[in-house]
């Protein structure tokens, strides 16, 4: 009886403000216009064509969201793994200091940090001028390209990769690495045969926790990208807040959520909910 009383208020909150809204979203996605213009409002219906027309119109943004988020997640994994490994195995007495340094930047405004990248990557900035001098930039600029958007996504969601990786690596008994080395595994082989498989829960957790918010993000595309870099988040945001075409916006959201749910359910099946962070 006690555990149910303990979970009741919190779970009720999630039920009422998460599950009910999701259903309400699905209901809205099937509504049709009351009149000919959007301003006349919507009436309940079962207009499934909202889905086909939404998908037909915004398919590129869908694909782009998953593509950009996918690349950003892969980059985040590559950047996060060495530092997570270092903090877990090598940092010894600087362990917590390093963790603080990794987490602290994310206590400063997300919008300002993204905006700061705008300054760093701007056309007359040091980075672009150097790269241009080496003729490494095909478009002569970084800002307002897909590179900048992916870069921003990678940066902004990096802690979601570092923390689960660190948690998972920190749980590995360092003696296992020694045992591998004792059993003729070179450092590289020891890593691939022992550390990597044992850190898999952290890798999967980090990938899920990075990919999902990155795929739904619209701030990076808005601040760092061009109009050709818009992602599904930008579309949903614009449809809901600017255009107010609620059924189309809801249909897009529902489809997006559906794809992510498949990922989440696969993840829970594979790893469970325990491994998180």
């Amino acid at each position: 009886m006690i555990p149910y009383l303990l979970i009741l208020p919190g779970l009720a909150w999630i039920l009422f403000f998460f599950l009910v809204p999701l259903l309400s979203l699905v209901a809205t996605s099937l509504q049709k216009r009351a009149g000919t213009s959007l301003s006349e409002g919507f009436v309940p219906a079962l207009q499934f064509s909202n889905y086909t027309s939404a998908l037909g119109e915004y398919f590129p943004q869908f694909i782009r969201a998953f593509l950009y988020a996918g690349i950003a997640t892969a980059l985040a994994l590559v950047i996060a793994y060495p530092i997570a490994y270092y903090i877990a195995f090598k940092a010894t007495k600087y362990k917590y200091l390093m963790l603080v340094l990794v987490i602290a930047p994310f206590f400063a405004s997300f919008l300002l940090r993204t905006n700061a990248w705008k300054t760093i990557l701007s056309a007359d900035g040091f980075v672009v001028e150097t790269l241009n001098a080496l003729s490494l930039l095909p478009e002569d600029r970084i800002l307002n390209t897909s590179v900048a958007v992916i870069f921003g996504l990678t940066y902004n969601f990096l802690p979601f990769m570092i923390l689960p990786l660190y948690a998972s690596l920190d749980r590995i008994d360092p003696r296992l690495v020694e045992a591998a080395s004792d059993l003729y595994a070179s450092p590289a082989t020891g890593f691939w045969r022992v550390v990597w498989p044992l850190s898999m829960p952290g890798v999967l957790g980090g990938v899920v926790l990075t990919f999902i918010p990155a795929s739904g993000d619209y701030i990076n595309a808005q601040l760092l990208g061009s109009t050709n870099d818009k992602m599904i988040g930008n579309v949903i945001q614009a449809q809901f807040i600017v255009l107010r075409d609620y059924p189309i916006a809801s249909a897009l959201s529902a489809m997006f959520m559906f794809v992510l749910l498949i990922i989440i359910v696969t993840y829970i099946r594979r790893v469970g909910t325990r491994q998180l962070v």
């Binding site: 045992a179 003729y184 595994a185 020891g190």
Partner: protein, 372 residues
Amino acid sequence: MAADLNLQRLTREFGEHTAVDHIDLIVPQGTFFALLGPSGCGKTTTLRMVAGLEEPTSGHIRLGDRDITDLPAYRRPVNTVFQNYALFPHLDVFDNVAFGLKRRKVADVKKKVSEMLELVELGKMADRKPGQLSGGQQQRVAVARALINEPAVLLLDEPLGALDLKLRRQMQIELKRIQIEVGTTFVHVTHDQEEAMSMADTVAVMNLGKIEQMGDPISVYEHPKTAFVANFLGQANLLKGDIVGEENDHLVVDVHGVKFSVPRSEAPVHDGRIVIGVRPEKITVVDPGVTTLPKNQVAATVIDSSFIGVSTQYLVESPWGQPMIAFEQNRDPTDVARPGDPVLLGWEPRHTFGLDPDEDLKAGLQESVPAL
């Protein structure tokens, strides 16, 4: 001998602290060697240097005529049974045991692994994960995983520490059997003196980064050269006295007016101050007035007696107020002295050993045990 393990001036410092202090040691091929000492004495560090998991500050490690000091762990023909085993939790028993063979791309992995699993009696457990095994089974997997590589030296780092007493005794016999069967050099690190003595051909007692004494278990136990060895390896009564004379190869030592004999060959000094010692099981406890006692005798008062089955252990007080201990074989349990009873202790002079007078009599005693 081709593959003797040879440590030369081996040293490891951690900052200011010297964990292993210029150790010289030869472990002949095929022997069961025990490195015994309290925690923090440097025995595990020594073992890890041999394994290649710790870099020596100075000194050399040789295997036969090969200097392996700078060889990384994964190129050394040496394998380790780790404390708490360090079995790979994501691999089953078969893959754990096959790990080293696969890294060296040895042929016939399957056959070799099943043979090895038979040797450690785990044939049916091949597809279990380590988490599904009992402590004793995990221990065998750890031994099999190391031994299958036919190492020149097998290192065992407190391998039985996690097992309960009964299983530990059983595994000691098992390990000894395996060692004899495969004939590999075993270097066994432990703080359990009974474990070391019951298994090893040679025991080295370590303290503060140095080897205090080394030899076969009987000689080290019977003829300790330092107070630390006397106290750490079993128990000992250590008495401080003066050498006052000599008769037939024996020194006569005066301890607070009581005279004891100690063989001249057992004494490091032959005049002046000396410490003499005797192990408690060498002492016979009788009622005062009994005359058929060995030559070294002292009257005492019983402080406490505890009956522990195979023997009765007495804590007595000598005339000069020093507590002493004596164990009596439990042949006739009705004859137990009570606290307050006056008794006579006696032991043979040949069971007496001598130590340097500057020895700290409390060296090697556990802190938790009241100094006896």
